[in-house]
Subunit: 253 residues, 2 copies
């Protein structure tokens, strides 16, 4: 007789809470608005903070919320469509390729990368770090692996590393007739360095896009780009992307 089980829900609390909050976001909040803090929300719904957080995590994963330590939880705008298609302008080193080169170093790539590049183990390759910004916020961090054989004319460049070196490598790469071979997308979690670049915490969910570029039948470069999964919708094909978003959206007035 002690049970206070007013509602027989085989559904977990956090999942039900997610639904309730999701509907509240649609009807009672506008983009950018700040939610009550977690302790207040938990008290309001009569659950432990950990349970409330489980619901918030779900909503953040779905791109509905944005949480920042020391600041608060805000309603996120609809995900932005980010083109990862075959458009010419997306070519590495091409004009207006949406990427900003940061750095370049000669490093030994991970085993899986070396395998795809068909280079020897422990054979260093050029690694160009680039980042991509869209609508004022960072959306992707990329590592471009380029075998030394792909850009043989680099002896003329004196800069051993740094931005200048990165641009030089890209310039050389651009002279090749690159052909995009394949893409793959999978879920991953941001490594510490990527997380910093993406303004997220380590372990944040990311969409990892790997692309292989061919030149005269050989693998000339391999790109591993990590996109923020919470804010990005990846679009393939040359157009901007379908405008599909979830639920009604109200904007601050």
């Amino acid at each position: 007789m002690g049970t206070t089980q007013l509602e027989t829900v085989p559904e977990p609390k956090y999942w039900h809470l997610r639904t309730v909050l999701s509907e509240a976001l649609d009807s009672e909040f506008s983009v950018g608005e700040i939610l009550p803090n977690e302790r207040d929300l938990a008290a309001r719904f009569g659950v432990a903070r950990a349970t409330l957080r489980q619901a918030l995590e779900q909503l953040e994963l779905e791109g509905r919320l944005q949480r920042r330590r020391g600041v608060g939880t805000t309603v996120a705008p609809p995900r932005m469509g980010v083109s990862v298609g075959t458009a010419r302008h997306a070519w590495p080193g091409g004009p207006n390729d949406a990427w900003q080169a940061h750095d370049c170093a000669l490093e030994v790539p991970p085993a899986a990368v070396a395998e795809t590049l068909v280079t020897g183990r422990d054979e260093p390759v050029h690694v160009v770090r680039r980042s991509r910004v869209s609508r004022g916020q960072p959306v992707a961090a990329e590592l471009l692996y380029i075998p030394a054989g792909s850009v043989p004319d680099l002896t003329a460049i004196d800069a051993p590393s740094g931005t200048a070196r990165a641009r030089a490598v890209l310039r050389e790469l651009q002279r090749l007739e690159l052909e995009r071979q394949e893409n793959a997308v999978e879920l991953g979690s941001a490594r510490a360095d990527d997380a910093k670049e993406l303004d997220r915490l380590p372990g944040a969910p990311v969409l990892v896009v790997t692309t292989r570029f061919l030149s005269r039948g050989r693998t000339a470069a391999l790109s591993v780009a990590t996109y923020r999964a919470d804010t990005c919708r990846l679009t393939f094909g040359d157009s901007g992307g379908v405008e599909i978003h979830h639920g009604p959206e109200r904007h601050a007035s």
Copy 2:
């Protein structure tokens, strides 16, 4: 001198634990092997079970582990490459399209879908449910939205719903000259029905692929497919996909 801080780690415990476990998986475990249970593991590492679980969740998200209630935690095989490219055989209703039709109903689609289909609000459309199996396990659940206008010759079909109806709709669709227009990929969490189909719990991370099909310039169908994010690597392009998997040495730099 009183600090027992043997290691000055600004790193969270669960993240460090994730790394340790990840390396252990590479060197000491083989695919399919069962890990010790969570209580034992937590005790072994001297952390609370919740913390240990946080690390396991990360590894599951990355496709390294598979956890099943009542059974245990096992080492997952490398993610399988699943083609979502433009290959002919992937056409809805085409022969060997890798999909199995389950059901069909006339329903009012979500607002976002109706918008893309350019149908009126509250106007019902055919909704075909399909599922996709690869290597013996379910990898995707799909909802195919087809405006009634796309398949006008369905009055001859008497089955109001069910598998027969679904196949009939697909057969009609196949007679159109479909043109794949766009794809988008984003992270989502499995709804209850999808989760059941994918043999996962509600809220499990999924990759949502939306595809628009055109016929004579009009949107003839819209596919919303949810793929298991833990087991699948989506490949675009007509070939099988690059064989990139996470071996030992996942981390660069």
